[in-house]
Symmetry: C2
Subunit: 456 residues, 2 copies
């Protein structure tokens, strides 16, 4: 820890409240991509935040939500690229929030807001680190820093692939820091080196041109809800085996090294049971490396939503003409979303469900970074300095994201570093961020940029 | 047709607009029992309509929606009881209505409103007949007339059974006219002599205390939507066979006479196909007596609604903690709803679905009236006079209602007579009533009361 590190940390300690206020203002701007709510306003707000720091900033069209890009040259010839997203999940169900999702509030050292941790707090903690570096280096950054923020991450990044492919030169860098990171349930920093892929679809069926009285049609008219139930039932059995032919064919199982890395991670079983009120886990899992491996190295077929007929209070004797289900398949190396989509169609047809329509709502391929990459080692070393704890290396994470695009088309190692904790309630009511972790996250990013620029 | 019949018909022809205005006012008063919307106000409005005609009227508590009872003594010692209901189905989905459900509108001789035919138009057409009889008889009715209107018919008449059992003397009569009736798709009057029973349940399951990010829990946490889909799948197979053990045991198949009566009825297949945009019917049915028998003499297991997780626009990667389905079982003689409920619980437990909760939301036993009863013959004869067409006798109808209570506890023959037509869109958007059928229905009821009172 040199003199400059001290100066950086002092700056961050002294200016925390200002950065939190900037984060609160960003969270107060709704940006729900699934509902097209506040997207453009949020993109402009993000662009202003970058410009304020001297970044050459552009709001670039994609065909969907715009991408915000910012670049500020630094002392060395090296370039570090930060990927973040400014969109958030919907606030619903609103009645389960203790404070409204778009009215950020700090209670007992924790900030509550939709998007506070996924992903706005990550973005502002990185800006905060930039501020500290500029302050410590006489207004100069140790290396060139680029930010790319998309506005469709929560709806499967539909336009990011084409954007990256069409802007390779603009995005060129030597390494990439992914949108998130943080600590595990024992407050140990984690390093996530991979993401599962995803194939998100909506299945729908229409059996008549209108709903009908169930007393009239119940025994002779087709029922859309039943068609959907029967079709869904063919996709996965009660033992969680996905029944689509060929679905498992391309899967590369975790290596012994992957399992050894997982084994070193704390066992999350008890924490999950308590936090989510679970009676148990699927497939007879109880914890340990088996649970951890299943969580990240196995693909899924999750029903995210079901809709049909009358859903209000009381009873309505109606036979529904329409039914639909939202489903996400989480994918592991080397599955690909476009192939799963083909397999799903073939499977439904084979079972006589030609009437079930499939709408593809977005996909990512799974992606991983080599644990032996120099940049990974730097991220781990700087984290251990800042957190004063050993880094937990996750060879793979359960979530998805478009990091595969950056790895494939920009040829970058991608590491994670951030401000999240396991109780952050991402994608759920009362999403929250611990202020102490926000400060540590900013310190880590500042040190990472400094060492990377200095070539240490 | 005697002089008095002529006078009655002339009165009805001359005063149609006034009665339609009264019906429109009644339809403008929402009375959605499933949503507890406007129930008391509607009960009071109905009571006023009866009082205006000299009926001794009471609004009686039931523990749920009140029952409105009215009685007016007549010349002969005989008593005719009319059963109606003042509650209606929900208006939703509102966007599919051409005019708002609670703003009645007449277009091209058809009145559109929620409840216009189910069941408010039936009630006012009977009041209209009473008006004509009072006018033709110097202010006297040919027999004692009683009206009983409940406010929970659309939510399975939860309190009617106890009400009838506790008010046998008040309700005592010689015969009963049920809530509805009308013409078939060839405009021939129909006489419906039975109703299927119903057992309405909501199945629900909760697998965690909150929804969770599908990337976190997808491969290791139980999913409420999947539990529900798998449980539902065990209830009925793709060939429409209900798989609950013992479900079919008590069923009395239709007699040859029943099938002969059905055979005389017009074939509705083509009309259904066109009106509802159906590609075909269930179980390979194409029409004829087989279709007609399946429609009314077979029990059903209909999913009326499905709810789980995210149902908004776009994609949300969430693993739902809760899921539920609304289901109605239509029952045929001699099934009983309480027995079906027991069988359902046992079936779910046997398949490992102890976690699926069952909420019983109402039931009726199936009920039939003897086609050879004198009152049936009178209803048929008067209808043929008024409509100048042969009456189509339906030994059983597909819908449900609490007529079994009246047959069992009041020992009454129950006939149907009314103003409905097959395109009336009951329980669906754009519910409607043809004005020409309203006038014919009132004429039929007037003649029926007159002959019944006169003992012809």
């Amino acid at each position: 820890m040199d003199e400059k590190d001290v100066k950086i940390d002092q700056y961050l300690d002294a200016n925390l409240d200002g950065s939190l206020a900037e984060l609160a203002a960003l969270c107060a701007q709704p940006s729900v991509s699934a509902q097209n709510l506040g997207i453009d306003d949020c993109a402009n707000l993000v662009a202003e935040m970058l410009k304020k720091r001297g970044f050459a900033t552009e709001v670039l069209p994609t065909g969907g939500a715009p991408v915000v890009f910012g670049e500020r040259k630094g002392r060395s010839g090296k370039t570090l690229l930060f990927y973040n997203h400014y969109d958030v999940q919907p606030g619903e169900p609103l009645e389960l929030w203790e404070s409204p999702p778009f009215q950020p509030e700090i209670r007992d050292g924790v900030m509550y807001a939709r998007g506070v941790v996924d992903d706005k707090g990550h973005f502002t903690s990185r800006l905060f680190a930039v501020d500290a570096l500029l302050n410590a280096n006489g207004g100069e950054l140790p290396c060139t820093v680029k930010f790319v923020l998309e506005g469709e991450e929560e709806t499967s990044s539909l336009h990011l692939h084409d954007f990256v492919v069409n802007n390779k030169e603009k995005l060129a860098a030597d390494a990439c820091v992914w949108e998130y990171g943080g600590v595990d349930h024992l407050d140990q920093p984690t390093q996530s080196l991979g993401l599962r892929g995803i194939c998100y679809v909506e299945l729908s069926v229409e059996t008549a041109n209108q709903d009908v009285h169930s007393g009239l049609g119940g025994s002779i008219f087709p029922n859309a809800a039943w068609r959907l139930v029967w079709a869904l039932n063919t996709l996965k059995d009660e033992n969680e085996r996905i029944l689509i032919p060929g679905f498992y064919d391309d899967i590369v199982p975790p290596t012994n090294r992957d399992l050894a890395l997982l084994d070193q991670l704390p066992d999350p079983a008890e924490q999950y049971r308590t936090q989510y009120g679970l009676k148990g886990f699927l497939k007879g899992l109880t914890g340990g490396v088996a649970l951890k491996a299943a969580q990240v190295f196995e693909p899924t077929c999750t029903i995210c939503g079901l809709t049909s007929g009358y859903q209000g209070p009381g009873s309505k004797t109606v036979l529904p003409a329409k039914a639909s289900a939202k489903i996400d398949f989480r994918l592991v190396p080397n599955q690909r979303p476009e192939k799963v989509l083909q397999q799903l169609r073939a499977h439904l047809d084979q079972h006589g469900f030609e009437d079930i329509q499939i709408e593809f709502m977005g996909g990512d391929t799974p992606a991983r970074t080599d644990p032996d990459d120099d940049f990974v080692k730097l991220a781990v070393a700087t984290a251990e300095e800042v957190y004063q704890k050993a880094v937990q290396i996750e060879p793979m994470s359960g979530g998805s994201g478009p990091s595969s695009i950056f790895m494939e088309h920009l040829n970058l190692p991608v590491i994670s570093a951030g401000v999240a904790h396991p109780g952050a309630q991402m994608h759920a009511p009362n999403e929250n961020m611990r202020v102490d972790l926000y400060l540590l996250g900013a310190k880590h990013i500042a040190r990472l940029i400094k060492r990377f620029g200095d070539g240490e």
